[in-house]
Symmetry: C2
Subunit: 277 residues, 2 copies
């Protein structure tokens, strides 16, 4: 039956495991296939063309495993490849940008939203577009969006330096730049799956640099909610008992996958298979 | 004539341009072809198998362009793939590890050398092996080598944050760890082509944390010298006037190549062609 098929999730590396974790909590009955393109990570500093090409390869890999839906857990891949993939494949495709945009619009009072992400995500302009659409759909006045690239946050999260002097210094530098550009924002959207690991230091430094409460919105949560809604819409939710082996995990390079994967997944990953795309 | 053929240089990304710069100064009469695998950078956090596979692809690309010699500008690729490539191709192949190892042995007085590099380079054990061999060849007593991985230095150099609070905090954290392990070292070998951009802050923080002068050895210089020697040995040095177009530059992804490339090359790069491997 179509509903018994797995949900396919792909990401540039391990960051998308924060999305898998949220999906597992929200949809415990579903089987998940995760593909992390760890051999070619990161996508955030690469061109639209390269990211779109790699995204097509990951999508093909998942479709060959008969998934009923594709979740693009990587913000950069969503920003550059979502529309193309939506048009090309027969199953529903969910990106990382829209769900986060809607959650940010729902959370802001001042109507001023900050977005942090990779260079690619910021350059694509995907978040300002999606936030404008979400505000319109919600019948709200136009929202002011300030997007700021933070390339060092990904290696920082992967290194596991999520607190301490270095994390503080990096967060200060980026958030000072953002505060200079948009001092009145009250929502900071974490537009990259790696950033939830730095939530603590970002929250603390944001309060200090902006001088008022800044609400952090994490797209992983929002994506799990949107996946649930999309499955319901297409009548694809699994109806049976929870599956035994809920997650099958594939990577294109397996260096440090156990250690770093567990950091993002929140617990040990289980068996991981290395594949070539 | 064989001698008129170009020298091929490959790297995981733009870091190897520090080697190209040194080669250009040392061998102004030679034509250079540079290939940066910027679509799949970085190599430093990836497995031996993946790095060796990518290195074979880059080598093939250069051989198709009829190079007379191959220089592996990437330390991680040298650590994982040099022996295999040397055995497989007909032209001389030079890696990044041996030249730096010899220069470090020549520079140490205490006989205690520190090496910093990527995770891959440190894991491979290539530097301790090469330094032991270089010490033996120089008729010196065995040298004590402490290698320490510094994954954040690459993104830091690429971001251009080569000085200031973040660079200081990162250098302090890594060099504190190194100083705890080997307080008496007097030479610090920069075992990654990105690190010369951070030379200033590393030198300053090393003096402060070790409490004595620490000599920094940069393998780019040593590689240019070794290239000169290897060309002479094989009677391959170019005999004519300096060429007009001394550098042809290829990359697998061209995002930010002008800006970041110039930072490593020390001046604008000129035309860069994007290729698929």
């Amino acid at each position: 039956m179509a509903n018994q098929r797995p949900i396919g999730v792909f990401d540039s590396g391990v960051g998308g495991l924060t999305v898998v974790r949220a999906l597992g909590e929200r949809l415990p009955g579903e089987e998940l296939i995760y593909l992390g393109d760890t051999a070619r990570v990161p996508y955030g500093s690469k061109s639209a063309e390269t990211v779109a090409r790699y995204s097509r390869m990951s999508t093909r890999f998942l479709l060959e495993r008969d998934v009923k839906m594709i979740v693009i857990a990587c913000n950069t891949a969503s920003a550059y490849a979502l529309e193309e993939l939506k048009a090309a494949v027969a199953v529903p495709v969910l990106g990382a940008v829209e769900p986060g945009a809607r959650a940010a619009v729902a959370a802001t009072r001042s109507g001023k939203i900050g977005v942090i992400g990779t260079l690619g995500t910021v350059r694509s302009g995907a978040y300002p577009r999606a936030i404008a659409e979400a505000a319109k759909a919600a019948g709200r006045a136009p929202v002011q969006v300030t997007a700021h690239p933070c390339p060092l946050l990904v290696p920082l999260a992967e290194e596991g330096w999520t607190d301490g002097a270095v994390a503080e210094a990096v967060a200060r530098r980026y958030l000072d730049e953002l505060a200079a550009a948009a001092p009145e924002l009250d929502v900071l959207l974490l537009g990259c799956t790696h950033y939830p690991l730095l939530r603590g230091v970002l929250e603390r430094v944001a309060r200090e640099r902006f001088g008022h409460e800044v609400k952090l919105v994490d797209s992983a949560e929002a994506m799990a909610h949107a996946t649930f809604a999309l499955l319901a819409l297409h009548d694809l939710a699994r109806m049976s008992e929870p599956v035994r082996c809920a997650l099958r995990c594939y990577v294109t390079d397996d260096a440090r996958i156990e250690e770093v994967g567990a950091r993002f997944f929140g617990r040990p990953l289980g068996p991981v298979e290395r594949v070539d795309l």
